[in-house]
């Protein structure tokens, strides 16, 4: 007896086996995919997606945390329009964001260009440590320290100003100077961070370009204008976006340094939302105000992206 195996049949069996193995593998891959994503997704859903959805419902409610929420329609939204303090607060926020972003980025870039040059490694180490140190330290503690330093009467800064013959400045008690102090503190604290970001961008520029430019007779200014600035522009774009979004959400700086005062002079948006929500217990209105910030930030980011086509060069 000889069993003749139909070659055609045999290959079909192999094929079937291969398909079934592929199915098992495929099934395993899909299953693992879902298992791997589950922890992050559950956490993201509960603590980010759900709160955002809840915020959109909350804006139509009056809710003081203690008694059950009541539906009040668009009352919170019309309150936004009529809230004169909100307008002041946004004006403060606007000034803070513009000046903090401007000075942080300009100083960050200048510092990065300064540090990114040939120097003994110990000098580089010391410079980076000094410039970067405030970034790592708790903002709240540092704001407390600056509060001590800027006191009008026995403050260190005013003492030093007087030593060089200048008049003492009401850093925290005058409404004009309080905003200056808040911006100054933010720049002091954060420009080292931007320096590091710009430094990474600068170090990615190939040295060859500068050499070629030097051979062609470009001077230092021309090399900066035609090589450094265009090639750093993607980094600058990223840095400006993150510092804008960060500055718009500053809380601890101002909370500790001035508490929003004097009056409302340095009350910026997050402090105001905190006040509405946790001092006045108007959760619905607080959610509505925070959504305005959300809308503004999204619009600003989109605007930046549109604008970026004019000045950001990708390769």
């Amino acid at each position: 007896m000889t069993t003749v195996v139909n070659p055609h049949q045999a290959s079909a069996t192999v094929e079937r086996r291969r398909i079934s193995r592929w199915r098992t593998n495929r099934f395993q891959e899909v299953l693992s995919g879902y298992i791997f994503i589950t922890p992050a997704f559950v956490s993201l859903f509960i603590f980010l997606v759900a709160p955002i959805l809840a915020a959109f419902v909350l804006i139509f409610m009056r809710y003081d945390v203690l008694s059950p929420p009541t539906w009040i329609g668009t009352q919170n939204l019309s309150q936004i329009v009529s809230d004169a303090r909100l307008r002041d607060v946004y004006w403060n926020t606007f000034r803070f964001v513009v000046f903090a972003t401007l000075f942080n980025n300009v100083l960050g870039l200048l510092l990065a260009m300064g540090v990114n040059r040939a120097m003994p490694s110990i000098v580089k180490y010391l410079l980076r440590t000094a410039l970067f140190f405030p970034v790592l330290t708790t903002t709240a503690s540092l704001a407390l320290v600056w509060n001590f330093l800027l006191t009008q009467d026995r403050g260190v800064v005013n003492y030093l100003l007087q030593q060089i013959g200048l008049a003492p400045v009401p850093w925290l008690s005058s409404s004009t100077w309080a905003m200056v102090s808040v911006v100054m503190f933010d720049v002091w604290r954060a420009c080292g961070f931007l320096m590091v970001i710009y430094l990474a961008g600068l170090q990615a520029i190939p040295e060859v370009l500068y050499e070629a430019a030097s051979i062609d007779g470009a001077n230092q200014f021309q090399r900066m204008r035609y090589i450094t600035l265009p090639l750093i522009s993607p980094t600058a774009f990223f840095a400006i976006i993150i510092s804008l979004i960060g500055a718009a959400q500053v809380f601890d700086n101002v909370w500790v340094l001035t508490g929003g005062g004097p009056g409302d002079a340095t009350r910026i948006i997050v402090l105001y939302i905190y006040e509405i929500g946790f001092k006045r217990f108007e959760m619905g209105y607080a959610a509505a105000v925070s959504l305005t910030l959300f809308v503004i930030l999204i619009a600003l980011t989109l605007f930046q992206f549109r604008l970026s086509r004019r000045w950001v060069h990708y390769d």
């Binding site: 899909v30 956490s43 909350l58 708790t138 503690s141 001590f148 601890d252 959760m283």
Partner: protein, 276 residues
């Protein structure tokens, strides 16, 4: 001539900035070491002239304020948050980068777009949620919402995309499970991204101020930053040297860490900054 003038002004700028950035820190150190009765005395010191280490002992041993407890609270929260994020972000990042399953791109899009959402927007609803489940004045209120981060997921996805596909494919052909491929092959190869994420998550949690202000109520639960600000109010204006000693204690671990791992931290910012 012009060249030297340029060089001099650049160096002058760098040195002045370095002094401005560092002088307040050295003022903290010097004043924290002064005799408490001298803490307001002018002129200020920018290097220690007195050595009243008792201030530090006074803060640590203060009967009303349990500083070691605050330290432990901060350390506990920051460590748990960091560990949780390393696990959840790397698992999700691996699945986005290396596995194919239905709905993957939609989920990834959800993660990406949540990067755009400012924390302020979810502050109020999250507070209500935490309050509803009874976690107010508990450390879980700070840990649970921080168990993952869309930024971390994105960072690690990019890192996993960067390792050669041949490596994970070879593991698959050798019959390794996906878990094993992730744990033994892929994870060891994304060390820099993991350490960058760990550094920033830890620092972010250690320095978090708004969270404790919103959720913590009792002294025993306070973390370092809020405790120091409260310490100022508590000790009043008379005891600045003690408050500054407290600030110094909170700075010290960070300083030590940075001096040892400076290159790591800076590379971390460069890595995350450019990919973020």
């Amino acid at each position: 001539m012009w060249f030297y003038l340029g060089e001099i002004s650049i160096w002058l700028f760098l040195i002045i900035m370095a002094i401005l950035e560092f002088a307040p820190i050295s003022w903290i150190l010097s004043t924290s070491l002064r005799n408490p009765s001298d803490s307001y005395k002018l002129p200020p010191d920018f290097w220690p002239t007195a050595f009243h280490w008792q201030n530090y002992l006074a803060v640590i041993n203060s009967p009303q304020i349990n500083f070691l407890l605050f330290f432990w609270n901060s350390l506990k929260i920051a460590s748990l948050v960091t560990i949780a994020q390393l696990i959840t972000c790397s698992m999700a990042g691996f699945s986005f980068a290396r596995l194919r399953y239905p709905g993957r791109d939609v989920i990834f899009f959800v993660f990406l777009s949540s990067l755009m959402v400012p924390a302020t927007v979810i502050m109020i609803p999250t507070f209500i949620l935490i309050r509803m489940v009874g976690l107010l004045d508990s450390h879980w209120a700070l840990i649970l919402p921080a168990t993952t981060s869309a930024f971390g997921v994105f960072l690690l996805r990019q890192a996993f995309m960067g390792i050669p596909a041949e490596l994970t494919d070879a593991a698959k052909i050798d019959g390794a499970s996906y878990w094993r491929t992730y744990w033994q092959i892929a994870l060891p190869l994304v060390g820099p991204a993991l350490s960058a994420l760990a550094i920033f998550t830890f620092l972010g949690s250690w320095n978090n101020f708004l969270g404790p202000v919103l959720y913590l109520r009792s002294w025993d639960n306070y973390t370092f930053p809020i405790a120091i600000v409260m310490l100022n109010g508590y000790m009043g204006t008379g005891n600045r040297a003690h408050v500054l000693a407290g600030v110094m204690i909170s700075i010290f671990p960070v300083l030590l860490f940075f001096l040892l791992a400076q290159r790591f931290v800076i590379r971390g910012i460069a890595v995350t900054g450019l990919k973020g």
